[in-house]
């Protein structure tokens, strides 16, 4: 029960910020994919930067543990591409569709219904995919620092600097 309340509270905070950042709108999501408006990229990368530094600090202090998803090239490349193709049609992603509905953009309802059907279809296809695509290029639960064999703070510093340069470029180009 406590977990459920925590989930709800976390979602309310996240949804509030998504709406404030104006990142849950079709125009913003498709604007990014058309390379016209980088608002959602700015939001995502800022979120990642703060989360990355915070989570790795907490991990180094022994307070939290990482929860890494298994790298399966077939899954992430093919699944990623398929997701992207659908995202380009829908203009909302799973989390933002709920937020879009919250600010009255009710075309998200069609997307939510479609996503439920998509989830059901995947459940039907899962046994076949499990023995095919989901076995292509399995590398386990690996991180970039593990893959490169270097310390995680080195990767984080490079990531932070790279992202700041990208942000400066966005602002210079007025994206």
């Amino acid at each position: 029960m406590k977990q459920l309340i925590l989930g709800l509270v976390t979602g309310i905070m996240f949804g509030f910020l998504l709406q404030k950042g104006r990142v849950i709108r079709y125009d913003k999501q498709i604007g990014a994919l058309r390379l016209m408006d980088m608002t959602i990229v700015k939001f995502m990368l800022s979120s990642i930067l703060v989360g990355m530094i915070g989570v790795y600090l907490l991990k180094d202090m022994g307070i939290v543990q990482l929860q890494i998803k298994t790298t399966i090239l077939g899954a992430q490349i093919l699944g990623g591409l398929i997701f992207g193709l659908g995202w380009g049609l829908l203009g909302y992603c799973p989390g933002t569709s709920a937020g879009a509905l919250g600010e009255g953009r009710w075309d998200a309802v069609w997307g939510i219904l479609g996503m439920l059907v998509g989830a059901a279809l995947f459940a039907e296809a899962y046994p076949a995919l499990k023995n095919s695509v989901l076995t292509w290029g399995v590398y386990g639960k690996i991180t970039v620092p593990q893959m490169l064999g270097i310390h995680h703070w080195f990767v984080i510093v490079v990531f932070v600097l790279g992202t700041i340069l990208l942000f400066r470029w966005f602002e210079k180009k007025g994206l």
Partner: protein, 174 residues
């Protein structure tokens, strides 16, 4: 195309604060943000209501058990949080057609509904194949420096850029 409902917050600020929400979730519930598994659980709950025996025998629903959990409530919370923010800032708009869509395809509701529905099917199938969406892989995976997260995030955008080129054509840049 510009809307008259205020400018919202700086996306860098709102994004950075959402990074703190990630830390809150990890510290309080030992959870990273994600959304797409909730759609699997919901589909399972609906199917269960119709044919519980069939669902009980399906491998994917044994892996992702149909139930209401932390993430399910998180997704409901996104709806509520967005609603609170929109209503309190007078930016709530009851809209069936996004502006950018209307400019290109007009105000037909069935046309938008069909494309959004089909897009939703494709997107969720892909997200489940990838084992995550822009929240689970894009944010939570990348911030943990997971290889899976970065690969998925890149291909989400590759697929999206390809599709918007098909839908809107080239020369999107202003």
């Amino acid at each position: 195309m510009t809307s008259n409902d205020g400018r919202g917050w700086n996306p860098y600020l709102a994004g950075a604060l959402s990074g703190l929400v990630t830390l809150f979730a990890v510290l309080t519930a030992d959870k990273f943000l994600g959304a797409s598994t909730t759609f699997v659980r919901t589909a399972g709950l609906i199917e269960q209501a119709v044919d519980p025996e069939r669902v009980a025998g399906m491998a994917y629903f044994l892996k992702e058990v149909p139930k209401i959990d932390w993430q399910w409530m998180f997704v409901v919370g996104i709806f509520i949080g967005s609603l609170i923010s929109a209503v309190t800032s007078q930016s709530f708009r009851w809209k069936a057609i996004p502006d950018m869509w209307a400019e290109r395809f007009g105000m037909s509701v069935p046309k938008r509904a069909l494309v959004a529905f089909v897009g939703g099917i494709i997107a969720m199938f892909g997200a489940r194949l990838a084992d995550g969406c822009p929240s689970g892989h894009g944010l939570s995976g990348s911030l943990q420096l997971a290889v899976s997260g970065f690969i998925a995030l890149i291909f989400f955008f590759v697929g999206g850029i390809i599709m918007t080129r098909i839908v809107y054509g080239r020369g999107g840049r202003r």
